[in-house]
């Protein structure tokens, strides 16, 4: 397929919500204001691990202007129900415990109680007046330390799911999983070169610029109305229903515009608390917003990890075996992305002999949440560094080595299934042929690094509906939160299907009351799955319109053709618009899909750095992200995904980390000291969109949003090695760490 087949797909129109967003009119979570609205505030734990002996809310309740105070007592008790909330599998009892601590606090910043008051200042004052007595317990922050025999136990009832069997003793290890194929010993025996290294990565946060915000109204008729910034309104509905033990139909969720999510806005935090406060405060709406410190204390992050990787290859550069052990810190409750990490780790390579062991370990840090290709950056940082070392030892060009071992259609993933048509080879070739890869890089302490990345992607359930207006425009009603331009990419697919101009599609994102079920905007699924739904809508509209045309001409419907938005019969023709203006019976359709033909994505990143060997600071000189994007519906927004993912990966690689003191308290919970990249920390990020159409989608779409965060840390580590001869094995590769490593290796200035 070539893009010239399409009239709309592949063009770069302005987004439908653009003007609202550049004029400040768009309504985000914190912008919602309802009559009689109260303001809520949460009290959080000052300790990393402590038993709650008592909570005295009397002083808070007595403060003028305070309307309600709630603690975990107000949350219904939920049993050990394990449920699939789309982006992750969660035990609801743990989730409830994370919303408001029941008998123990498990991390610094764990929510304990909440207040609703006439204004946010009073709510904050009141929260400070709640007296909590604690019995402080020993804490553990590191995954491997938490696995030790004498480690403090976080969850007394937790037993390891050990390779499918339930353990019998207390532990912090929630799960041990394994992927295994072939004969590891034989594979390593066949290798001429074996490299084995250990890696560490820090806890990092999604870092969306909009803090969490929600308004809830628990009405007198027991309807719970929620307005919030979320990646998925149906996910909020399900979680609210489970946590508050009410039927889902009683929860109506209206999503606002969302100021970034990256996986971190799938879970609820504030919404159930605001609902409880609303009910207790006489059914008045309650707005809750987090401060930035609360966002860092109590939401996200993604797991810190320990990863050991061993890989072997023959002299001609063929990988013969790969083995790894991955320990991911889940935070206070089980559920790290170690499973995904295990899949991403060797995802780009064809391997017959492979074993990956993964451990999901609880520690006294915030409960981890999904973060863009969850678990993938950690894994690629480790595996791609080992691959780089193999290529060096074998004297083979890094991209040539990857091309030699790259997976292609029909090869097996580590967990078994065969891969469908993928574009990894094409992506590697595009990287190899890019001017960046062959450009000279003169100068001292400069180096170029390359790394590859893999991500599964996801399809998932989507619904949408549409109706034809008399002026020939089409209302598109969809339920997928638009975080980066999906209104445009969906409207474009509908316009293409209908054969009418993009400007004639009027997309609107609505909540649970306005459209059929949708999974959230996660897993790189929206343009793919909701795109499928929209394609179905288009076909249904054309079918109905053909029937209307047939009635109009009084001919059999079989005789009516439609092409490029024009209906025709025996020389008579009518444009979509003309027909729309003459509809006696309106045309409105809906579609629901659960497509499974989502295809995985592959990316190759190239980065040039200069290392100030006197200070340890790494400057990025040039960056190119190459990726198989299936078919780029709106190329500018696809480029934006690649650039944004690369930038987040750079932050993760170089400076971002949670820093704790010896009492287990998070000390850098601000955007001053949690150091995300600024405009001065990055160069322009060049992108190459490789278009290998996904056969599982009518327009060849494959998810593009997640894989770009997978290679950056590894690419940077490999570049730093080329610049200095020192291999960094710990993230972030902050100046202090790089400087220490350079001094230890006696690298001359």
């Amino acid at each position: 397929m070539t893009s010239s087949q399409y009239k709309v797909i592949g063009s770069r129109p302005l987004r439908p919500d653009g003007v609202d967003k550049v004029t400040g009119r768009a309504v985000y979570g914190a912008d919602v204001k309802l009559p009689g609205m109260l303001h809520g505030k949460i009290l959080r734990s000052p300790h990393a691990h402590a038993r709650i002996v008592s909570i005295d809310v009397s002083a808070a309740q007595a403060l003028p202007g305070v309307r309600a105070v709630v603690t975990a007592r107000e949350l219904p008790s939920v049993g050990d129900t394990v449920t699939d909330l789309g982006e992750s599998v969660v035990n609801l009892r743990y989730m409830s415990n994370n919303i408001l601590a029941h008998d123990k606090v498990l991390y610094h910043g764990h929510a304990i109680a909440a207040v609703a008051a006439d204004n946010p200042h009073i709510a904050e004052e009141a929260a400070r007046l709640i007296k909590v007595t604690y019995e402080v317990l020993p804490h553990v922050l590191d995954g491997r330390a938490a696995m030790a025999a004498n480690a403090p136990i976080l969850l007394p009832d937790l037993r390891t799911n050990e390779l499918g069997k339930q353990g019998s003793s207390q532990t912090n290890v929630a799960e041990h999983i394994r992927h295994q194929r072939g004969d590891l010993a034989a594979g390593f025996a066949a290798a001429d070169v074996i490299v084995e290294r250990e890696f560490h990565t820090a806890t990092v946060h999604q870092g969306y610029v909009e803090p969490h915000a929600a308004v809830a109204l628990w009405n007198e008729d027991d309807q719970i109305l929620v307005w919030c910034s979320t990646q998925g309104s149906f996910g909020v509905q399900e979680q609210m229903a489970e946590l508050l033990q009410v039927p889902p139909s009683r929860v109506v969720v209206t999503p606002t515009e969302i100021g970034g999510g990256f996986g971190g806005k799938n879970s609820v935090y504030l919404e159930p608390v605001a609902a409880l406060l609303s009910r207790k405060a006489g059914h008045r709406p309650v707005k809750m917003t987090m401060t930035r410190a609360e966002v860092l204390f109590g939401t996200g992050p993604t797991s810190g990890s320990y990863i050991r990787v061993k890989m072997g290859a023959t002299r001609d550069g063929t990988l013969t075996a790969a083995e790894a052990e991955m320990i991911y810190e889940a935070g206070a409750f089980p559920g790290s992305p170690v499973g995904a990490g295990c899949g991403v780790l060797f995802g780009p390579y064809k391997l017959e002999n492979v074993q990956v062991d993964g451990y999901d370990v609880v520690v006294n840090r915030p409960k981890s949440a999904a973060y863009r290709a969850p678990g993938g950056t950690n894994a690629a940082f480790a595996a791609e560094a080992v691959v780089d070392e193999l290529t060096e030892k074998l004297g083979i060009d890094p991209i040539a080595f990857r091309l030699h071992n790259a997976v292609r259609e029909g090869d097996r993933r580590a967990d078994g299934p065969e891969l469908p048509r993928i574009g990894f080879i094409e992506t590697l070739e595009a990287a190899r042929d890019h001017a960046h890869y062959s450009a000279p890089l003169p100068g001292k302490q400069r180096g170029r690094g390359v790394a590859a990345g893999f991500w599964f992607n996801w399809g998932g359930k989507s619904s949408a509906s549409a109706s034809v207006n008399a002026d020939g425009t089409v209302n598109l009603v969809e339920g997928s939160t638009d975080i980066g331009g999906s209104r445009a990419s969906l409207a474009m697919q509908l316009a293409e299907t209908l054969g009418i101009p993009y400007a004639d599609i009027r997309p609107q994102v609505v909540g649970t009351a306005g459209v059929g079920y949708n999974e959230g905007t996660y897993g790189s699924r929206t343009t793919f799955s909701t795109g499928w739904a929209v394609y179905e809508l288009g076909k249904k509209i054309l079918d109905e319109m053909r029937q209307r045309a047939a009635t109009h001409w009084d001919v059999p419907v079989d005789g009516v053709t439609v092409q490029d938005g024009t209906f025709a019969h025996n020389g008579d023709s009518m444009s979509f618009r003309e027909l729309a203006g003459q509809l006696e019976v309106p045309v409105s359709v809906s579609a629901s899909v659960f497509p499974s033909g989502f295809g995985p994505s592959f990316a190759v990143h190239i980065v040039d750095v200069e290392v100030d060997v006197e200070t340890g600071k790494v400057e990025i000189l040039r960056y190119t992200a190459v990726q198989d994007v299936g078919k780029a519906i709106h190329p500018a927004y696809v480029e934006g995904q690649l650039q944004g993912g690369a930038a987040q990966g750079v932050g993760w690689a170089l400076n971002e980390e949670y820093v704790y003191d010896d009492k287990g308290r998070l000390v850098n919970a601000s955007l001053l000291d949690y150091r995300m990249p600024t405009a001065l920390d990055l160069p322009m990020i060049d992108t190459v969109l490789v278009e290998v159409a996904n056969p599982g989608h009518p327009y060849g779409v494959r998810g593009v949003g997640e894989v770009p965060i997978v290679p950056p840390a590894a690419a940077l580590a490999n570049a730093i090695y080329q610049a200095t001869g020192v291999r960094m094995t710990e993230l972030p590769m902050s100046p202090a760490r790089v400087s220490a490593a350079l001094l230890a290796a006696a690298v001359p200035a």
């Binding site: 699939d84 973060y371 997640e706």
Partner: protein, 88 residues
């Protein structure tokens, strides 16, 4: 015609190390029943009542089955039980 069912490494304790099993069945649910008859305990590992256990997906010929246990199997298929993951 029997399907080629791949047993996940973590459940091979129940299959005495056997990695691939040939079983018949017109749906994923029927396949799991057949597996359980041969290797008791497998169904309990893979299912939770009338659904696949949360976090587990069935892949039929490399494609994740959207209908879970009720997914129809027409031709002889290669079946894997893989971690279900969506992403961020």
């Amino acid at each position: 015609m029997p399907h080629d069912v791949w047993i996940p490494p973590v459940h091979r304790d129940l299959t005495h190390g056997v990695e691939r099993v040939a079983v018949d069945g017109s749906t994923i649910g029927a396949v799991i029943e057949a597996l359980d008859a041969q290797f008791p305990g497998l169904a309990a590992r893979l299912t939770d009542g009338d659904r696949l256990r949360p976090g587990i997906a069935a892949a039929v010929n490399g494609v994740v089955a959207s209908r879970g246990l009720r997914q129809k199997l027409t031709d002889a298929s290669e079946i894997h039980f893989v971690p279900a993951m969506a992403g961020g």
